[in-house]
């Protein structure tokens, strides 16, 4: 029973981080209508920024989100404006042009990281890295708990932005119907570019929060890209509430897969659930959350 609860709690905590990765992806999916296959690579960029800040100035990884978020936001704006947006008018045989572009971007980012930082595994040691909280027999890793709390704050902030501000309303309007949004005086192009930045900024926050509990190496990017789209499909494409649920479900599924099947199948459990959902329940968890 303890093992069960322990797996559940660990899964929930990591799931909180997965949730903000998924929300970022789902925002991009909702507005740009593409699957961002560079999502994990952008997260990797944020992790490397955090690592450099910690390594050179000893900046705490949780404080560094104030730097990584704006930096990655500007960077992703640039990607979106100069590489992704121009493709809308380009005539090509395959409609997946933009998706393939994100593949190219992701590849360049990974290789750039490899040529600057080499393929070495890196991690950071802070005073609280190995600390745990105990509730009964269940241990909670302190860095994960902090990360979980920050993730909740960020999620609430994002929901406020989407629900209450003009910008948020414009984003939602563009996601629902680009054409009508344009008729209402919203610059769809601007919102599209901005949303890619916003989604990537959330991703960046997740990167900074993950660094204290995760190894960092260039190929961490593709790994998280796969996780990100699994979360998004689980949650139902374009649904923010669904993405939260999807993140939590994936976190729990992975820890249970690792505990009860085999640690080698940790990543496979998520993928199998993904295929089942994709094929048999195409709406994902959006069916239940309705948002």
């Amino acid at each position: 029973m303890d093992l069960f609860l322990q797996s559940l709690v660990s899964g929930l905590l990591i799931g909180g981080l997965y949730a903000i990765i998924g929300i970022g992806m789902t925002l991009i999916m909702g507005v740009l209508k593409i699957i961002n296959l560079a999502h994990g690579q952008i997260l990797m960029v944020a992790m490397y920024i955090t690592w450099v800040l910690w390594h050179t100035w000893g900046l705490d990884p949780y404080l560094s989100i104030f730097i990584t978020i704006p930096l990655v936001f500007v960077f992703a704006e640039g990607l979106s404006k100069y590489l992704l947006h121009p493709l809308i008018e380009k005539d090509s045989i395959l409609p997946e042009n933009q998706v393939l572009m994100t593949v190219g971007i992701g590849m360049v980012l990974v290789e750039l990281a490899r040529s600057i930082f080499t393929s070495d595994y890196r991690s950071i040691q802070t005073s609280y890295t190995d600390k745990s909280l105990y509730i009964g027999n269940i241990s909670l890793s302190l860095p994960l708990v902090i990360a979980f709390i920050i993730a909740i704050i960020l999620t609430v902030g994002l929901f406020y932005l989407l629900a209450k501000t003009d910008l948020g309303r414009s984003i939602r309007a563009t996601a629902q119907d680009k054409f009508s949004a344009t008729l209402m005086g919203i610059s769809a192009a601007k919102i599209t570019i901005l949303t890619y930045g916003l989604g990537s900024a959330l991703d960046a926050a997740a990167g900074s929060l993950l660094l204290p509990v995760y190894y960092l190496y260039p190929d961490v990017g593709p790994l998280f890209t796969v996780k990100a789209f699994v979360i998004t499909i689980l949650g139902g494409l374009g649904s923010t509430v669904g993405a939260i649920a999807g993140g939590l479900v994936l976190g729990i599924a992975e820890t249970f897969g690792a505990t009860y099947i085999s640690s080698g199948y940790r990543d496979a459990t998520g993928l199998v659930i993904f295929l089942i959902v994709l094929v048999f329940f195409p709406g994902g968890l959006k069916r239940f959350t309705k948002v």
């Binding site: 045989i93 395959l94 997946e96 993928l271 994709l278």
Partner: protein, 331 residues
Amino acid sequence: MEEKKTKLLEVSKSEWGILIAAVILPFIFDFSPYVQGLLIFILLWVILGSSWNLLAGFTGQVSFGHAAFFGIGAYAAGIPYMHFKLSPWWGLITGGIAAVILGYLLGVLVFRLKGPYFALGTLASGEILRLVFGEEEWLTNGHVGILYMTTWVSKYPYYFIALALAVGAIISVKIVMKSKAGFYFLSIREDEDAAQALGIDTRKYKNVSMVISTFWAGTAGAFYMIYMGFIDPEVVFALHNISIISILVGIIGGVGTIWGPAIGALVMVFVQELFRSAIFGLAPSWVSGLHALIFGVLVIIVILYLPGGIVGDWHLFKKKFGSSKKLEVSK
């Protein structure tokens, strides 16, 4: 009356030229084993690229999981060898068949999906196979992989086998695209609902495309096992190095063109090797670490400026070339 029937296979003069050159050149020049290896890799990518291109470029089903078929083909050659000491050469037959069976079964699942969902479904299938083949050690020897002493030391026999397979792949694509099925493929790519409305059994023809495509991917995998003499799941089921590169080979050369993957394979191997060897040792050695990066940048440039790929947008090159000539004349 007999003339009414269109010829299924038309080979142009330049195509004959390329084929004859590919056969004769190794006899004229004594290529070093390094160059021979590169040529074999180009041919391997021609097979895989053509295979991807038939399913994605012509039929519009963008697969992100071609490593699944390549890998299953490689293991169809490797597993009988490991367990029963059966020669991996049988893989040239079993590899394709195993991949076709897998492709058909996967098709039942993933052909229910469209567009980006199909891409993700195939991607996930490939990844699942990679993880399963890594874990089930009793069957596959896990991450230790399967090792086989290659039959010949010389690379020439492998070159000609690879050439034969590549020619076979290109010819089969050519024939299919000239047949009725080929036109059905194109109509499915352009608008699947409209194709269905016109009475085309889209499910059936997507399966036909899948079968031909996976057959070549599986055969390429089996050839890889025979030629390299070593496979492990991380190599043959690699998401990036197999699935994504098959796509990029197609994109660079030209999606939905018969010669696109061949040109793409040539460019890909050439660019990568140019930088891996640090521009033939002329540049400082750190340049050699940039080979994959440069290839990625090339992909971005091609998608931005040549959405049809090198072959698909060849007329743009011609136009630019022609207009600049005219300018010189007017001066």
